[in-house]
């Protein structure tokens, strides 16, 4: 055993914003992972809240499947408001 496991770090920059991935740290456990995240990624008031997640617990989609995962959404234009024609004289819609 020479190095600790890896944790992914997410920071909420301020109230109203979602947590955003900023990087990772090594730590022996969840509590110290939070401390390490604080001491590494919020030294300049970058955040008001932190998440750490064991890197091994992240399930990622496979880029090789990006075609089947994401391309089918491309032609579903009816999901977007710009697909619909509304006369200019009609307001607030």
């Amino acid at each position: 055993m020479s190095d600790w496991p890896l944790w992914e770090v997410f920071v909420r920059a301020k109230g109203g914003l979602a947590h955003r991935h900023v990087g990772s740290v090594h730590a022996p456990d969840a509590e110290l992972a939070l401390r390490h995240a604080r001491d590494t990624y919020t030294r300049r008031q970058e955040g008001v809240s932190l998440w750490v997640v064991a890197s091994a617990a992240i399930i990622a989609s496979d880029p090789d499947q990006s075609g089947e995962l994401f391309e089918p959404a491309a032609d579903k234009v009816y999901r977007h408001p710009t697909f619909y024609d509304i006369p200019d004289v009609v307001k607030h819609i």
């Binding site: 740290v25 090594h26 730590a27 401390r35 390490h36 001491d39 590494t40 030294r43």
Partner: protein
Amino acid sequence: MPSLPPIRPEDEAVAEKVRLHGAFDAPAELPHDPARTEYLLRLGDDALILGQRLSEWCGHAPSVEVDLSLANLSLDLIGQATLFLGEAGDADQLAFKRDVLDFRNCWLVEQPNGDFARTMVRHLLFSTWQHLLYQRLSASTDPAIAGIAAKGAKEIAYHRELAAEWVVRLGDGTEESRARTLDGLGWCWRFVPELFEVDEQLADAIARGIAADPREIEPEWRSSIGAVLGEATLEVPADTRPILGGRRGHHSEHLGHLLAIMQYLPRTYPDANW
């Protein structure tokens, strides 16, 4: 004029937010008040000497993450020292131009870092004391002391938690870490009584509401330390004969060496500005 990269407005905004008013300004003319000055030196020297000790770790910690943590502790303490000493006089003059007999810190903070276990035990014992003290000091009749202590209490709360987490892990880790933690505890425990000592100077400051009475925080300190050591599966050591004197300038041999290093430049070049 050379073209250094410009300061960006967002950096300036952050700097403005973190820059405590007056932190690096020349001290204002202060009314002579020996008990107050004495107390400021005790608070300031404790923070300065421990901050200096912790900074020795920089670049040598057990992991990069721990290096960052230790530097944060040190920066908090040197910041507090700057403020306390700045209230007592010219902070740099006080830090760099006094000799051992005029330093007012306790023995605990000047102890060499030893290994990581001793550093963390020392930090647990000291920051628990400092946190309880600063909490009380935020109600000091002296507004400057109250303000610095209130700000510092938030920083030290974090120090206390971090040190406790480490002592628990090291005490209840491997055989080796346990032995090292016990050794560190034995080394540091000798200097506990000095934390709660009240001499004449301090009694005067307590009577005027400037200082907090350390005897009042001792029960809470003992129960808090007992709880952390319990979680670390370690026994609270037996008290030994008090080793005192730091508050009156009588220190261990270690302080002189620390000062020789810390003060080397201002003493070698007394006319220089840096």
